[in-house]
């Protein structure tokens, strides 16, 4: 609440509000340091693609943002409000669970393996968190749920269970589940990597549409075409550090780092 006053505006982005700011994020698993100090800013409406080979720390980075992994040190702010700060015990050693949960609900995640709740119908999946976490009234939530299912094009599957849907439809339902939170931003953790090739397109089309509607998204992906054509910003991670960062034109057109050039040349797109 005190943080409302700290909402920053980046002059280079016109009046776009800073939605997420990450400062010097570190994460170690035992002796292995996976993230070695990552900083990142996302503005409202940004679509940031995070690229990198396996082991570069890109998924760990995403999972640190909503604290599915606890960062070792660093700061994360969402619209100026702290999500994590290693200097403040309220966010690290003596974590305020309620606050963490509230921040998580503002940046829902779309998982590689969908992770739709298998015992709920599609509609129930979409309604669960808005009604039980955000405590929105039932009629409002159902209306909202139907509208987001329309948006991803699977409103007719509302009463089916996830196992009765194709992978592409399941991932679209998972995106609808995230949209129903009226999120500040959505985290995508390799959303198309578990899909059969012929199903990748329908999910990317939905994500493309969201980008056009200015939904703020952070996308860990291997889909180079998506990163190049849809992103407002591309971040290339290598061994736990931001190796290259810029607009898609800059990163794909004239990458400054050797690693990034090698990565882009070995990835076919």
């Amino acid at each position: 609440m005190q943080a409302q006053s700290q909402v920053a505006f980046d002059p280079s982005q016109g009046t776009a509000e800073t939605v997420l700011s990450v400062d010097n994020l570190h994460k170690s698993f035992g002796a292995l340091e996976v993230l070695k100090g990552i900083s990142l800013e996302a503005h409202k409406g940004d679509v940031i693609s995070i690229l990198g080979s396996s082991g570069s720390g890109k998924s760990t980075f995403l999972r640190c943002l909503n604290l599915l992994e606890t960062p070792s040190t660093g700061d994360i702010r969402l619209k100026g409000e702290p999500v994590f700060s290693s200097k403040d015990p309220k966010f690290s050693t003596k974590r305020d669970r309620g606050l963490t949960a509230r921040q998580r609900s503002r940046m829902p995640m779309v998982f590689q393996g969908f992770n739709l709740w298998s015992h709920m119908t599609i509609l129930q999946n979409v309604m669960a968190a808005p009604s039980k976490v955000l405590n929105r009234p039932a009629h409002e939530v159902e209306e909202l749920a139907m509208s987001v299912l329309e948006r991803v094009g699977i409103a007719n599957k509302r009463d089916m269970y996830p196992s009765q849907l194709s992978g592409g439809q399941q991932q679209r339902a998972a995106i609808a589940r995230a949209l129903a939170m009226k999120p500040t931003l959505i985290l995508f953790d390799e959303p198309t990597s578990a899909l059969d090739p012929e199903l990748v397109g329908e999910v990317l089309r939905v994500m493309r549409k969201l980008a056009e509607e200015h939904v703020t998204m952070l996308v860990v992906t291997h889909e180079m075409n998506f990163a190049r054509d849809v992103s407002t910003k591309v971040v290339f991670l290598h061994q736990g550090l931001v190796e290259e960062e810029g607009t898609p034109d800059e990163v794909f057109g004239s990458p400054k780092s050797q690693r990034c050039r090698e990565f882009l040349s070995t990835t076919s797109y």
């Binding site: 669970r97 509230r102 998580r104 992770n115």
Partner: protein, 232 residues
């Protein structure tokens, strides 16, 4: 043929079902608590739960039933008379056999239920719980929305077994003078000197409870497996 003992047997059957349901409810709650302690508790809670399941599963039911029904009141009396005020020197407690039976069986089968729930919770795909956490669910909401319904399909066949064994174990409570089916059959056979008739009827009644239970378990299984294609 029943020489007027039919109503007594039916009353006994009703009591058996009543004790079973109440004891199963106790076992269910203890099982959830025990499994939570084993999986999420600190060292103290984990140790308590571990001792509970080892001791209970390692001592015959009948010994525990007699120990609790006869032993506990005596122990409490001795303690109160020894350490309590002068005015309580003739203090007496008696356990109601129904409550003693329910508590004992609940305690025993709670230990088995603990293991069933523990295994079931561990079988939940990690992503299901992670999705709940990522969407801001905590504590009770997470349990009610995700963990419990997910766990149920892995627990249902084990719980069904616990129920079937528990129903049969109620026969042991005849040892503490509760008028359930077994004791009614004993009375009837002693008075009529026709043990075969009455024990056979008792056996058939127990069997009928099991058959009905199996059908209900199957229905519950279908519910618990909703949305999941593979059936246990």
């Amino acid at each position: 043929m029943l020489q007027g003992y039919g109503p007594l047997l039916l009353k006994g059957l009703a009591m058996t079902i009543g004790v079973s349901l109440a004891a199963f409810a106790v076992a269910f709650v203890l099982g959830l608590l025990g499994a939570s302690a084993k999986l999420y508790g600190g060292r103290v809670l984990r140790t308590i739960a571990e001792i509970y399941t080892v001791v209970i599963r390692g001592v015959p039911e009948l010994v525990l039933i007699l120990l609790i029904y006869y032993g506990t009141p005596t122990l409490i009396q001795t303690l109160v008379r020894t350490f309590g005020p002068e005015s309580m020197s003739r203090f007496r407690v008696d356990f109601d056999p129904f409550i003693a039976g329910v508590c004992t069986l609940g305690l025993i089968y709670g230990a088995f239920a603990t293991e069933v729930f523990r295994g079931a919770i561990r079988s939940i795909p990690k992503g299901q719980i992670e999705a709940g956490i990522a969407y801001g669910m905590t504590g009770f909401t997470l349990i009610r929305m995700v963990i419990f319904p997910q766990m149920l399909r892995f627990a249902i066949s084990g719980l069904g077994n616990v129920w079937l064994v528990l129903v049969k174990a109620t026969a042991l409570i005849s040892a503490i003078q509760l008028d359930e089916l077994m004791r009614s059959a004993e009375l009837a056979s002693a008075n009529t000197r026709e043990p075969f008739t009455f024990y056979l009827i008792a056996a058939l009644l127990y069997l009928s409870v099991t058959v009905v239970s199996l059908a209900l378990i199957k229905r519950t299984e279908q519910f618990a497996f909703r949305g999941n294609e593979a059936r246990g």
